[in-house]
Symmetry: D2
């Protein structure tokens, strides 16, 4: 039996925060010990939270009081999940790390620092050793580990087995993302009723840059540096609540058989599966052959650990050197809270949480 | 002054039918003389029509009675617009052509017959000579001319100037189409609230096949047969009422400068513009440089003839041999009724309506 | 321990059918033995069903084959749940009853026959004795019991304690109902995006008529016949998936204190609660005092048996003889499948299922 | 011919501001001379405005620069339309009035001051004499006139002829309002996709209070003080862009024949109609007998001056002393900008704009 870890959830009333609360309610060894917020401080969690997810508010947290986001009040806490808004997150997370806390962040503020892991445990597990470097360099007792942008994870999980096994030339991504991806209040209804919200170049580039970093940290089985992969994304929000849906075209430097690609995806596994981590789905990629799937409403909660698997469908051969597929990721689960919990479990196994 | 042409509109209560009614209300020489329907026969137009478009029902048609879809009742009619449902359209249109009527069809039933034009007057105007062949071969006094699938036109209009001037290698299309594209009742609300409806392989292929046919009829300025262009499409409906939005990636066989592509699009004109046809927009392609445009709600009615121009934006260089852009077409206007009227005006100029 | 009852679910792939499947998956003594359908006959349930509800398709039914709606194939079945479409249901249900089956119907076809119960077990439990009459009169070995229209149940559950305890004069109802209430495909997306669908007089009257019948079967504690209660409804669909939301104004023949009304609602219980039936929520009416609740998205699955309680809020005194409240009912659960299961459990207790 | 009035539009980029711009583009004697804003100051109107209405941005304003909201910069301006946000509007409008400007306000900040008219020219025209009182009391050269809350106008316009001619006892209102009613960004998409947003008691009461004030200023033809009318409202937003839809139950102190009510509504006219003001619809109330109308999407722009008439339908007798109807008002047109322009035209006729 593992030692119980006591966790604080920052931004606990947010769209990512509620998924941490939901998923940790039955976790074998991580317990919610502290719920932090900002505007809602002082109120009982169950009264103020917008519970925009499945199931009901767990009884054990409904009456917990929301407390300030202050490391000095968290004596009893072993680790800190930080789904704080961009901008606010950066300094807060550094302060926590300085105070000795292990911080798992879903915010974008530290995603491009070379000594801070941008971790998907199935894809770039070895990057956790950056923690040692980070602590040394920054003289921190604690540390920060980040998870990538939800939409980037929806690309990376299905792309990883392809990139590992084939000589990829270009990746062209078109996204249709859910409104919950911008938090609350987030997307204005006037932007999304009878409309598609164009996210624009900055967002496109953010997505690409994160995919680039994680790909560059992916070990390959093919004799090809992979350095010159072209990546492009065109990003949008549509009127869906949860679930980012993305159409991905991949071209290759040599002929590729789509059945081999399917096999690679189907067999895709990583350390979380090998280690049987509690929040690891047995299949990080669920493949569907149905012509009209994945669909956001019906598939975003797929898998034995709902929302932790990416659902891939529409996989087909475009020409000898090109394939196409659709990927659906639950943005606040695998794309945020679930990814954060999985990262934590992996760090536990590797001794970083002791 | 042109001779006035008396038109019958089949399927006049449908989503395409109402655009014919709206656009012809002020047409200089085409007058609505007969409104045909099926379930609504016998009722006053203004009472039964679902007027799901801009403006109000034109006074002159509000009290017209809807009549049967029967060539024998249309003595007084010069030409027939046929936005009939797939399947129903085929035999009806042939009967009309046999009876000597000039039929302009938006239905899919005759889009792949080699002697029937699939016409976008800006792109493949010379294909109208197929009419002569058609009449001879089929021994028809009338004829049938068709317009392509709305979503295909949204690809073809911006693609034409590219295809004409550059050596295109592949075209990867992802669509987010409006629900009105399936007619009424069409898309179930349960498929589209908090969901994206995947249209699937058949629809993908239909789109590709139509783009293929029209491209193959496009005259090129480049020294390249264009025969081996790869086309792929992934098609969806999202919760928008009108306006098909499509993200298009184009790769080339040689280096291409996106600014040259922009220029080619910006200068794109065809016979309708040269002939100053009444329903021809001065610019078939409206280019926007705004980072967040086109947007369906704000741009689908763009142009001095609302809905007759395709709005293209997000045009950018992906790498030396690839570009990306977004295209927005009003599906029931340029993609159907407006396209049909423009085709008619062109046929008038070329003497096919005498 | 109760004897296990083997149930057939007609219309098992429909929106109500799936709730029967979901709720019976863990039922203590009712087991799904037969899944019937029409268009989907012959296919594995898990492959064809549109699972538009919470949770995942129960493993034990995913591979069951969908079978014809034919009593002769159901040797092994004890009772039949019938969420069949209006029109189709009538003759089918009679045939089943004739063949000796106990039929619990959510369809409207037999809701106004005086010898067929229209049952909400909390409100008019004694009407089950109509079964005896029914069997005698019709010479059936089986029987039919029906449940009221979902929207009527959303009125009746909160109205019952008011009607029982106060002298009601008028009830004015305005509904905002979910699209799933019309089944699949049901409501056209073109009727509901950026629109409110008006259901019209027929539907208004249907609702009123059912409320009337059940009220007239409700035992009262007040010295007032209640015969002359005015009922009026104005009914609509809005763009929500599940959950009928209704605003109800009630006027009285004498002064009424809203706090007494609140108490009556809060204390409301019936036979299902007294008998602790497995699917009976401890509170059929959940009262909320929050100013902005109930809300469809957040409250439709409320209660310890999700979707089995009506959530009532916005209760307030309008003047000395009028009050106002909002009622939210899960249309396919309490308003259909859940109501059917609860009715069955009650019939079991009363010996009608032996 | 009237003297041309030069108008400034404050909040010109807002949802109400754009309707002022649209409606004044072709006004016979009011010209847009100054476009004011806040965040958008310094930019060309056509570049920054979210044109969420019909038609296209009028050419003559597209290149106008947005300027500060400062009376000192408006030498050349005769009157000021003020659709400013609540809170911001109050002091700004007073400053303008002090500086001698005639201010027509759609904001809520001065709606309950006894010397400031809350004007619907068809209903309480005589209240414009409050202007004289206002000027004297406040020592202002200019003045402020306000228009009621959009949702209140949707009640008041159909209620006025009823109140004038019958002894009303109670009015029970349930609203389904469009998201544009909260401005931009306004309603969060997460509150409105698959949900109904409950506006709550404050909003309910605001609506009631405004209806109360205007009713109390309405001249009656019946021998009844009308002081004791009960008003109650339950208010919501649903996923519609424009158009507030309201179900209204009215009870009376004596028997009332709904046909007489219909007649009163149908004949309803006021000063704007008598004076043939340019923006006055010939019928302020358009009555429809169709069972499924009014519908938001199809009727919000009804009338020869689109959006200036309230569409009333579903009118029916509930019992001898109660009726019911549905009212649809275009919130940003009749409910704001159009109401403001009509008020101005009326003030012009009465000499208040000289
Ligand atoms: N939504 C997604 O799909 C998604 C996916 C991946 C990553 N992320 C990232 O996760 C983070 C959170 O996103 P979200 O969607 O959960 O946001 P959200 O719904 O807007 O929630 C924000 C949370 O942060 C708290 N908060 C806000 N400002 C704060 C401050 N200055 N100090 C402390 N707490 C503060 C709020 O507390 P109060 O309610 O008490 O004010 C609330 O709990 C963002 O960085 C986002 O980029 C989101
Ligand atoms: N919607 C688009 O964006 C779009 C774009 C390009 C092409 N198209 C094509 O245009 C055609 C019409 O589409 P739509 O969206 O306008 O369809 P729709 O809204 O469903 O309208 C169908 C029309 O056809 C009439 N009709 C139906 N069955 C008929 C029959 N057997 N004989 C005669 N009339 C019949 C109906 O009349 P009643 O109402 O009297 O029954 C109605 O007027 C289809 O072929 C479609 O593929 C549509
Ligand atoms: N939806 C609600 O909120 C609600 C609430 C209360 C009561 N109801 C009532 O419940 C009934 C079902 O509603 P629903 O919403 O579940 O409808 P639905 O989603 O349209 O499902 C209809 C079901 O009935 C089957 N079916 C259709 N025609 C049939 C026939 N002729 N014979 C045998 N089976 C047939 C279909 O099977 P296949 O798929 O195999 O074709 C499908 O399983 C209706 O009477 C409705 O009024 C519904
Ligand atoms: N929407 C309706 O249906 C409706 C109906 C009746 C009445 N009203 C009332 O009309 C008013 C405007 O509503 P709306 O929906 O048009 O709002 P909106 O869309 O949010 O627009 C607000 C406008 O006010 C400007 N603005 C914001 N703060 C300002 C300040 N401090 N000083 C000067 N200008 C400022 C903005 O300019 P920038 O864009 O330059 O920042 C924008 O032009 C509100 O009082 C509302 O209650 C609205």
């Amino acid at each position: 039996m593992r030692r119980v870890l006591k966790a604080a959830i920052l931004g606990s009333t947010g769209l990512v925060g509620i998924e941490y609360v939901r998923m940790l309610a039955n976790h074998p060894y991580i317990k919610v010990a502290y719920l932090a917020g900002k505007g809602s401080v002082g109120k009982p969690y169950g009264e103020v939270v917008r519970w925009q997810t499945i199931g009901q508010i767990p009884k054990e947290v409904a009456n917990m009081e929301i407390k300030p986001t202050d490391p000095k009040l968290m004596d009893d806490v072993d680790l800190v999940f930080s789904p704080l808004p961009a901008g606010a997150a950066g300094p807060v997370e550094e302060e926590f790390a300085k105070h000795g806390f292990k911080v798992i962040s879903d915010s974008p503020d530290h995603r491009f620092e070379p000594d801070i892991p941008l971790l998907i445990p199935e894809i770039n597990p070895h990057t956790i050793t950056l923690i040692d470097e980070q602590r040394k360099k920054r003289d921190w007792k604690g540390f920060i580990v980040t998870t990538p942008l939800c939409a980037a994870q929806g690309v990376l999980l299905p792309l990883a087995p392809i990139y590992q096994n084939f000589k990829v030339d270009s990746v062209f991504i078109t996204t249709m993302q859910a409104v919950s991806g911008e938090g609350y209040p987030g997307v204005a209804s006037l932007d999304i009723i009878d409309n598609i919200k164009v996210l624009g170049e900055n967002y496109d580039n953010k997505l690409i840059k994160e995919v680039h970093r994680v790909l560059s940290e992916t070990k390959r089985n093919v004799n090809d540096s992979g350095n010159d992969v072209t990546l492009s994304a065109t990003t949008h929000r549509v009127a869906t609540i949860h679930g980012h849906y993305e159409i991905i075209y991949v071209t290759f430097k040599e002929d590729v058989n789509v059945e081999k690609v399917r096999e690679a995806m189907d067999n895709f596994k990583g350390e979380p599966q090998n280690l049987k981590l509690p929040t690891a789905p047995s299949k990080p990629i669920i493949l569907t052959n149905e012509d009209s799937r994945p669909q956001v409403y019906f598939d975003r909660w797929a898998g034995e650990i709902p929302g932790m698997s990416v659902v891939v469908g529409r996989l087909s051969q475009v020409n000898r050197r090109a394939i196409r597929f659709a990927s659906l990721i639950h943005n606040t689960v695998r794309g945020a809270a679930g990814g954060g919990i999985l990262a934590t479990e992996f760090l536990v196994e590797k001794g970083y949480m002791d």
